[in-house]
């Protein structure tokens, strides 16, 4: 078993009287596709928001390769190699597809204002552009580089969101509901891309409601309910876990 790259340890997040995450612990192995599932309101997205640094946890901590990253700002977490995507199509809608991905290369090729004014950052700009085009190629968006991101069809927007994240060359990507609103064909293609991404050595943690995709894709699955850890295991174990079936079919109103 490879060492965990990401450890969520005894994590608690409270908003006033509401406990969104309640002493949650799990580990994500290096180079795995790890699914985080659970009925609506289980605290999956909140977990993402804590891991990515959008929220500071009330208690517990998140460790990346043994280093505590909880409590850091979002850009500091990103600079340590954890990059996230957002629910819905959160993009720079007013910028072109290529410009969107260029922002993703920000960490690898940090802009320098003095170099920019003097015009001595040409090599950096070219390298950033090459990286961006590579990321667009990976997701099959190369032909759309000059389109405005906001004009793309939904499936392409989701892919672009991932291209922006990938352009940063992260160690860990957090994908928040990447298959939402995709048709079966788009979902299948996106699953292939994720496997391809995993095979390049990127660890993927994803929140998703599409059970077919989750079961087909994940090496390991963590199931949450009401902020707590419900079950953990491989897809087979999760599928037949009595508590998971109870949470999805018995107690909860929604089958997520």
């Amino acid at each position: 078993m490879s060492p965990p790259v990401l450890e969520i340890d005894d994590l608690t997040m409270r908003f006033g009287g509401l406990t969104a995450i309640d002493r949650l612990s799990f580990k994500v192995e290096r180079g795995a596709i790890h699914g985080l599932i659970g009925p609506n309101g289980a605290g999956k997205t909140t977990t993402f928001n804590v891991v990515s640094g959008f929220y500071k946890p009330t208690g517990g901590e998140v460790r990346l390769r043994g280093e505590t990253i909880s409590g850091l700002r979002m850009y500091e977490v990103a600079r340590r190699g954890v990059v996230r995507t957002f629910q819905h199509s959160t993009l720079f809608a007013e910028l072109t597809v290529l410009e969107n991905v260029l922002i993703g290369t920000h960490m690898s090729f940090p802009p320098n204002i003095f170099a920019a004014m003097a015009g001595v950052d040409k090599a950096n700009r070219r390298a950033a552009r090459a990286r961006a085009e590579e990321a667009l190629d990976f997701f099959g968006l190369a032909g759309l580089a000059d389109e405005l991101a906001g004009d793309l069809p939904h499936g392409h927007q989701r892919a672009l969101g991932m291209a922006v994240a990938l352009a940063a060359r992260p160690d860990v990507v957090l994908l928040d509901e990447p298959f939402t609103g995709m048709n079966p064909e788009e979902t299948r293609r996106m699953m292939e891309l994720m496997v391809k991404l995993r095979d390049t050595g990127v660890t993927i943690l994803l929140v998703e409601h599409d059970m077919h995709a989750i079961m087909g894709l994940c090496d390991r699955i963590t199931c949450m309910s009401f902020g707590r850890l419900l079950a953990e295991g491989n897809p087979q174990e999760i599928r037949h876990h009595p508590d998971v079936i109870e949470a999805y079919l018995g107690g909860a109103r929604h089958v997520a």
């Binding site: 959008f54 990103a78 959160t90 007013e94 922002i103 920000h106 922006v164």
Partner: protein, 328 residues
Amino acid sequence: MAKFAALFGFGAILLALPHALSFSQQEILVFLTINVLLVASYRLLTLTGEWSLGHVVIMGVGAYASALLSKRLGIYVPVAMLLGAVTAAMIALALSFPLFRMKGFYFLIGSFAAGEIIRLLWKRFRDPFGGPKGLKKIDPMPDFDIGIYAFDFFEPVSYYYFALAVVGVSLWVMWRIERSPVGLTFHAVHWQDRLAEASGVNVRAYRTLAFVLASGFAGLSGALLAHYIGTINPNSFDVEQMVFVLTWTIVGGTATFYGPILGCVVLTVLNEIVLREAGFEQMRPLIYGLILILSVLFMPKGLESLVRGAFSGRNARKNKAGETKAME
């Protein structure tokens, strides 16, 4: 190369322009040149999505600093002007700590309050700021000769040429910044600060950078103003001036670099030249206000949308090629 020819022709027109104007119009032209720098710097600030109401006061910081440095310490005026710009940038840096805890409307109000505090300090402290009466007899630019042209700063034409050079270089620098990866990051911070931050962008640092740079250029425009008119007081930089900057920016449009500049030039010419010449002395504010309302109603995307519309058909492909090149 047609671009260079156009640029050259435009430069020639700008150089010839004052000789076709009356003395008072030449003076307006100097103010217009200085205001062009002010609105262009304001746009740099708005690139990250934050609109400030303290920008004119920051301009005043540059004016006061440059005036005091030359008056009290006897620093050579052009150097004092640069130091005035640096002072404005430094004050902005200090202000950024409280101000960038806020966003949107809260930032707007916060920047207004910060500006009023600075203006009250000018009023309250007779030494060194001269109190409500402000500073008088500010050292003029010393005359100098560059061989082909002798600058005599008693003449508005000379000061116009000097200001034109300073403003031209400043605009060029701002243009370079906007077209660089730094400028792209400003846009990213504006449109989706969460996604930008998730991509590793220190959003707060970039907001501060835009604010400090914009304030530096605003300070420079203030310094240009101070040494031209020779007297400044706290009311030279009050909220009424800020409203002018806002209207120029809004009427011009902020989507392009030239939008606010266009707004500033068109509205100034309209107000100071056309309406004045047409004899509407008393009615000027009324007509000016009416034009503002009509332009916002019928051109919500600003004057720049007219220019873009005129060029889009002919130059769409050319522009695209140019933009891709500029990104490299």
